[in-house]
Symmetry: C2
DNA sequence: CGTGTGGTTATTGTATACAAATCGCTTCCG
DNA sequence: CGGAAGCGATTTGTATACAATAACCACACG
């Protein structure tokens, strides 16, 4: 995207993820235009994108609101992501070159380093994690699959989840990645799929445990 | 979407599917604005949507082209659709009410009637087929899943595929739907998933057979 | 009191004018 | 002859003004 549009997207997204606005709160294009410093035209483009990522939703009459992700929504998201990303891992296992596998190892080394700091550098972990998964999706060489996954992965949950990780959880993630690399090196699609499946499913449960069984609360209802 | 934007979307989409423009051909927002009779602003919104559905693609420098669906692209699309729609069938099997199942039966009766005309009424078949699948996705009660599938199903392939169906193929489709309904009535998610899987996979092969092993042609001949 | 109806304001949708970027061609130099 | 630089024309991106629509509120009326 071009300058203003991209700017608007990044700013609004950061604004949403920062928690500065509550779920269910109404936003207007004018507000966002002021916040981002660009006119409504690029803001509208950014908003469309964020709607696609389900960070924003529209009421029946086109008014704009901050999306409210219930626990069920999050489970649903993880389930879909698991389905698609397992497929990606399977395909990647058949396609990854030695060089690409080596690149994954490098990424995971960096991820581990971030985990082993005290306290763990969660931001760096997240970035390495994102790059790792992205590389696999890229290697799956399926543009549509990549596009679908982008919608799911960009979701806010990723960030929220990370905050709830203990160092133990982060270490387990790193081990999963190691095993994934092993599966790739062995060119075993079935193995890769299985590891990816448990990796993502565990991530969901880690998150669910932190959020609690059915809590939707988080943030005062404007009652 | 609002009037002009929706108008632009529908017109451009029809224009693309009609085959009036060749794959790979460049389009400009101005052209589309003239064709649709609305200004560039809503055209741009429509174009974004069509990009999402991969009917249009952008070059590295933001220029707009008609997407070129290779046979591999189509297989990829079917594979993803199968993965997601099997999941939808599984979920639907757990959720469909008796009334909803009855509604599916009605839809499929109409579909069969369309098939048994001489010659088969393909348009009516397509509409009934679309409604049938949509009802299942709806019943799966997973907004994100629905959103992802919408992107895949809106693809042009659906229309192109139908033209290549023989009456035998259409009848088999109807039988698949019957079996799907039976699986739903039995509340058997596993059965539903399996039927949906073979249903979609067969659709792909029917298509592939018609197109030929690696043909990219996309004939405009409406034989 | 509740309810519906009118007008007023807030918000989104569309058109248009202008700015920035890109393309294709020409020209000029090596 | 090849290729790089410049320039006009084309195309996309952004801002702004205006139109259409929906929400809000006050007030009359049953």
């Amino acid at each position: 995207m071009s300058r203003a549009s991209e700017q608007a997207y990044a700013t609004i997204r950061a604004h949403l993820l920062s928690g500065a606005v509550k779920a269910g709160e109404q936003l207007t294009e004018d507000q966002l235009s002021q916040i981002t410093g660009v006119s409504r035209t690029p803001v509208r483009e950014a908003v469309r994108r964020l709607e696609g990522e389900l960070l924003l939703v529209r009421s029946d009459t086109k008014r704009l609101f901050v999306a409210d992700w219930s626990r069920d929504d999050i489970e649903e998201m993880f389930t879909l992501r698991q389905m698609l990303e397992c497929h990606a891992a399977e395909r990647a296992a058949k396609r990854l070159s030695r060089a690409q596998i080596a690149a994954l190892e490098t990424l995971n080394r960096d991820l581990k380093a971030a985990v082993e700091e005290t306290p763990p550098d969660v931001t760096r972990f997240l970035e390495a994690n994102r790059a790792f998964h992205e590389a696999i999706i890229e290697a799956a060489d399926s543009p549509r699959l990549g596009q679908l996954l982008a919608k799911l992965i960009e979701a806010p949950v990723v960030l929220r989840t990370a905050r709830t990780y203990s160092q133990g959880d982060l270490r387990q993630s790193a081990r999963d990645h190691d095993e994934l690399v092993a599966a790739f090196a062995a060119r075993d699609p079935s193995w890769a799929r299985a590891v990816m499946g448990s990796h993502l499913r565990r991530a969901f449960h880690t998150f669910a445990r932190a959020v609690g069984p059915a809590a939707t609360d988080r943030g005062g209802d404007t009652a």
